[in-house]
């Protein structure tokens, strides 16, 4: 660790992992509710558990992004963080606000939560992923502004690298597009249209900038490949991400009362969206092959390569599967969507956060890398979680294909609930895979506590010059 203030990332990462555990526990509950409809009813109905599951995901990824920025930016800028105190203060504000919001979901009916947080003054609640009370949303904006100010001042007064500038652009975009969550018109079509300005322009837009810059940073560190090469890749990846992804928003405007031309535009541009992810895979394998050092942190390298592959599969391939309008006509809002959502979020954003945690956590704990035994456990957790997620996705895809056929395509369509009963076997298998994922996550946490002999950094070696 080159700068003392990088260590502020540590509490952010610990909080992220803690909330990740909560997210997965609720995921397992949800999976069970799919097959045992009355499980925990009426104490924790499905909608509440789902809200906890998705909101915890968003919150812990944000913790992860912030932690990553606090670790990465001082090192890139070659100076201490502008204000470590502000970063610590924001950590506690965000953690308390997040915890209170989740407790609010669990302890009182959602309608009561809306009432006591005075949602009628500025109604923003009750929309997918944006369920947080308005007051929480305002809190998120304040934390985001303080965070960006802190990071921005560090970047702008220090050494400016492509990585830190791209990261900063992504973070500013994240904050700016979140402002659309405060726009909730009575007109449902307008509401839906601008809701996507948050959701799509986050996950298929600016978050890709954050992801690519984090990946680039870790790859520079673990491979020692020349920065010029990596920066060129970074630019071309994010260029393709935004060129395809901005108009690609149109794939959400097929069936919500918006003009027909979106079917063409959305199909064509979102069909290009796998390209940046494919390039990310090429990029990661390319630079690892051309590595100029063998970094002792094998686990971090594995996570980095895994991120690139799984993001391409989840976001790229599974996204493409149902993104063309004639296909999406049948698959929109089915388990196919759920399959894609799971693998895309895991492959792109969960894994990139775990990549930077894997790289930086040992360093913040005073080692070059985790000891050999700890790394073995961590790599087991990588495979368990990743393979489990592949199977979750495959089972949900199976469920989705059958659902589309029975409910929307066959000669005599079944009702929604009759169809769901036919999908039960897929849901049971998905639940089993979910439990394996949870085991992988437990192993992941165990890996931080495994003792062993400290690894030593080998002298940088110059690989057979390319």
């Amino acid at each position: 660790m080159k700068y003392e203030s990088q260590k502020i990332a540590m509490p952010y990462f610990i909080a992220a992992i803690g909330l990740f555990v909560g997210q997965i526990l609720f995921g397992v509950i949800l999976g069970l509710q799919y097959v045992m409809g009355d499980f925990l009813f009426p104490e924790i109905p499905f909608n509440v558990a789902r809200m906890v599951h998705t909101n915890l995901l968003i919150v812990w990824l944000l913790f992860g992004f912030m932690g990553a920025a606090y670790y990465l930016v001082p090192e890139e800028s070659e100076r201490e963080l502008y204000s470590p105190k502000l970063a610590i203060l924001m950590f506690w504000i965000f953690l308390v606000a997040g915890a209170l919001t989740i407790l609010g979901y669990l302890l009182v009916p959602y309608a009561t939560l809306a009432e006591i947080t005075m949602n009628d003054l500025l109604p923003t609640m009750g929309r997918e992923f944006l369920e947080q009370p308005t007051i929480t949303k305002i809190g998120i904006v304040i934390v985001a502004l303080a965070f960006i100010f802190n990071i921005g001042m560090t970047v702008l007064t220090g050494r400016k690298t492509v990585i830190s500038l791209v990261l900063l652009t992504g973070l500013v975009g994240l904050a700016v597009f979140f402002l659309f969550s405060f726009y909730n018109p009575e007109n449902l079509v307008l509401d839906k249209y601008f809701w996507w300005f948050v959701v799509h322009l986050w996950v298929e837009g600016v978050w890709e900038l954050i992801m690519a810059s984090l990946l680039a940073f870790v790859l520079i560190k673990v491979t020692g490949v020349d920065r010029e090469v990596i920066e060129k890749w970074l630019y071309i990846i994010i260029a393709m991400a935004l060129i395809s992804g901005i108009i690609g928003t149109g794939h959400h405007f097929f069936w919500i009362g918006t003009p027909d031309y979106w079917q063409w535009l959305g199909s064509v541009f979102s069909a290009l969206e796998p390209i940046p992810f494919f390039m990310m895979t090429l990029f990661a394998f390319n630079v690892v092959n051309k590595r100029r050092r063998d970094h002792p942190n094998k686990a971090a390298t594995l996570w980095a390569l895994g991120t690139a592959v799984m993001a391409f599969l989840g976001a790229g391939v599974w996204g493409f599967l149902h993104t063309l309008a004639p296909v999406n006509f049948y698959t929109h809002g089915t388990q196919i969507t759920a399959a894609h959502g799971h693998m895309a979020f895991y492959g792109a954003y969960v894994m990139v956060v775990l990549t930077i945690i894997s790289y930086s956590m040992p360093i913040m704990r005073g080692q070059k890398a985790g000891n050999a035994s700890a790394q073995v456990v961590e790599m087991w957790s990588f495979w368990l979680m990743t393979v489990a997620m592949v199977f979750i996705t495959l089972f949900l895809t199976g469920a989705g294909i059958l659902q589309v056929y029975l409910q929307r395509y066959s000669e005599e369509p079944l009702t929604f609930m009759a169809t769901q009963e036919k999908l039960e076997v897929f849901y049971w298998m998905r639940e089993a895979a979910g439990v394996v994922f949870l085991l992988g996550l437990i192993l992941y946490i165990v890996s931080f506590f495994v003792k062993g002999e400290e690894v030593v950094m080998l002298e940088d070696r110059v690989k057979n010059q390319v």
Partner: protein, 145 residues
């Protein structure tokens, strides 16, 4: 990547490409918003419907249901529920009202939200208005949603 393709070129594609497509997106957004009156059923967007939308949000309905395909996939699509229930707001209200407080053993069941008669009417009117939105190809594909 070959040396002929420089970092500067990559950077220019990034800046140029994203600014260009962002401007195109803004243009398309303006066009979409201007053309919405033809499809979004705003002539039927009464105060009752607006109150119904608020109820829809305050009870987190799309935590289980989809509405025009967006939401959760645990319970039926409601964008065409008015049609599916025989174009009867009474049938919609009766269904919501009759949900058992303790659920149905072993099965999924919608919670009992204890809505007043007026609230039920507002919610049903909101679902009727939503059914009136002219979606492309009249999505969803069939009456089952």
């Amino acid at each position: 990547m070959r040396e002929t393709f420089t970092k500067g070129m990559a950077r220019n594609i990034y800046y140029g490409g994203s600014v260009f497509f962002f401007l195109v997106f803004i243009g398309l957004t303006v066009d979409t918003v201007e053309s919405l009156p033809k499809t979004d059923n705003r002539e039927n967007l009464t105060e009752e419907v607006a109150a119904g939308k608020r109820l829809w949000e305050h009870n987190n309905c799309l935590g289980c249901h989809t509405l025009l395909g967006e939401g959760a996939y645990f319970a039926p699509e409601l964008g065409n529920v008015y049609t599916r229930f025989g174009e009867s707001t009474e049938a919609i209200k009766a269904f919501i009202k009759s949900r058992p407080v303790d659920g149905i053993p072993g099965r999924r069941s919608m919670p009992q939200f204890n809505l007043s008669d007026q609230e039920l009417e507002e919610l049903a009117q909101f679902l009727k208005y939503t059914d009136g939105i002219k979606t492309a190809r009249d999505w969803p594909p069939n009456i089952q949603g």
